[in-house]
Subunit: 335 residues, 2 copies
Amino acid sequence: MKAMDTRVIKLKNRPKGRPEISDFEFDKTEVCSLQDGELLLKTRYVSVDPYLRGRMSDAPSYIPPFEVGKPIESGIIAEVIESKNKDFSKGDFVSGTLDWKESQVAKADGLHKVDPEKAPLSAYLGILGMTGLTAYLGLTEIGKPKEGETLLVSGAAGAVGSVVGQIGKILGLRVVGIAGTDEKIEMLKSEFGFDAGINYKTTENMTKAIAEACPDGVDVYFDNVGGEISEAALFNINKFSRTINCGAISVYNNTEIPKSISVQPFLVKKSSLMQGFIVFDYADKHPEGIRQLTQWLNEGKLKYTETIREGFDNIPKAFLELFDGKNKGKMIVKI
Amino acid sequence: MKAMDTRVIKLKNRPKGRPEISDFEFDKTEVCSLQDGELLLKTRYVSVDPYLRGRMSDAPSYIPPFEVGKPIESGIIAEVIESKNKDFSKGDFVSGTLDWKESQVAKADGLHKVDPEKAPLSAYLGILGMTGLTAYLGLTEIGKPKEGETLLVSGAAGAVGSVVGQIGKILGLRVVGIAGTDEKIEMLKSEFGFDAGINYKTTENMTKAIAEACPDGVDVYFDNVGGEISEAALFNINKFSRTINCGAISVYNNTEIPKSISVQPFLVKKSSLMQGFIVFDYADKHPEGIRQLTQWLNEGKLKYTETIREGFDNIPKAFLELFDGKNKGKMIVKI
């Protein structure tokens, strides 16, 4: 096979604080020739996610940092253009963690086929992918919600948050969401069935607003944001409450270590639990999660929202928009 | 029976910040006459504990606050002087939560007999009482320690901390203790078998000191203190680490809500757990805990230290000394 070139997006610099377009570099690179067992893939949908910000720093974290001068990778849906692997055929679609390249050769490990008949391809990056699994497994494995309890969700209009809230409703909880525009709050209630919503940008006293929206206190807090919103949540947690620390987007771009009120006295007083959740740690539970999510989706119990940008050139920009809260639901770039 | 008077210590004022002697009031009160099922008790040993500070404030907590003008109560070993309850006889010793009175009439619910033949009476307030149970159940139920892991203990020379470390050694962990004098550090190592100790009062960079004492990182952190020491611990936690939030003595006397670095990003990065522990929540596990602790004590595997003050008049003073770290191990007042 003749060597061909493809476009690639690399990490140019490690961002200081908020990432900028200039932290990314567009380049060309050769597509290697196919070896036995490998696939030639054409990128169709690219997932951009807040957690990628962490991989742009070189601080130790749950997955290795990106290397400067090397391609960035994220969740991608690709089409098989050519296959030297008996389990995959030309025309199949696969999901996996792949480079930000228009075309690439990849080994089949870690890739799995997705069926465009059962759900739109982009859904496999969201509600039926890491997003849905994060919502479902974070809520059930750490949150251990019980019918009649109150669930508070921050970043509720985001990809994960909107699914968390819907699952909370399916499981019989009172669900309160926090988001940053009135339009998002309206969407949480009318489209996703949240019982109440709080616009943190227009609310002066978040502690009081949460108390009012959660008259029986907060039993489960699904925390996507950290920072001041999570401080306000602490004042409202119930005895034996569980907090899923799923993300801290409000502080990811801080260049200094953020300070907030000490959680320890609250945890002691309330026999309360906080636990970090990373979907990759629960790989053995992914098949069951996908099965449950697909069932709810087919039953019409789960809705999802996507914000789709178009074009390979716009991947970095779409990523940056996450930090302005410009997305409703899952942010995806269609190539 | 003729009415008799007894001395009593009441809460005079809710302390602002650090409690003072003037927050306590010595008074006299009548000992009620014995009803059916009740016991007349003479106080022998009084436990003073940091958590009592919380009950002196009127903020909601895991147990109701003390009332101003009413007796303070804590763990007490008392002798039965007269009994109208078939399960108890004159001369028995009982353990329970009782008023700070020289003599009192009490119902038998919540009191249980203790045997001075099996262990010294004061041990039932410490190693075989709430102290030992807090160490054992906090460490095992939340910490879930595994052989070969590293256990970090703050407030390590305190009543709970010194037992936590010893149990850690019995279970095959590397155990590192943090305390506030060189003498205490020496005691942790020579008497209680800790592998290493850190004097936080003479150590400039606690984060570095913990890293050096815990070369494989911290898997279980038994946190008795909160505050800056717990910040330093955060920088050293391992993936999947567990923190038992047992107390926060460093901030109990703060009049403003204490701030510290945000724990959320650490928990997210490390898939780490923090959970508040209150021994009262685990009442169903107390019998098994006492059985295990008694066995280890009889096998010579557990040692305990007490600081015993004498005299009813000295109860408040002994309590205040806790906040200066004047105690080694369990602080008890013998009447």
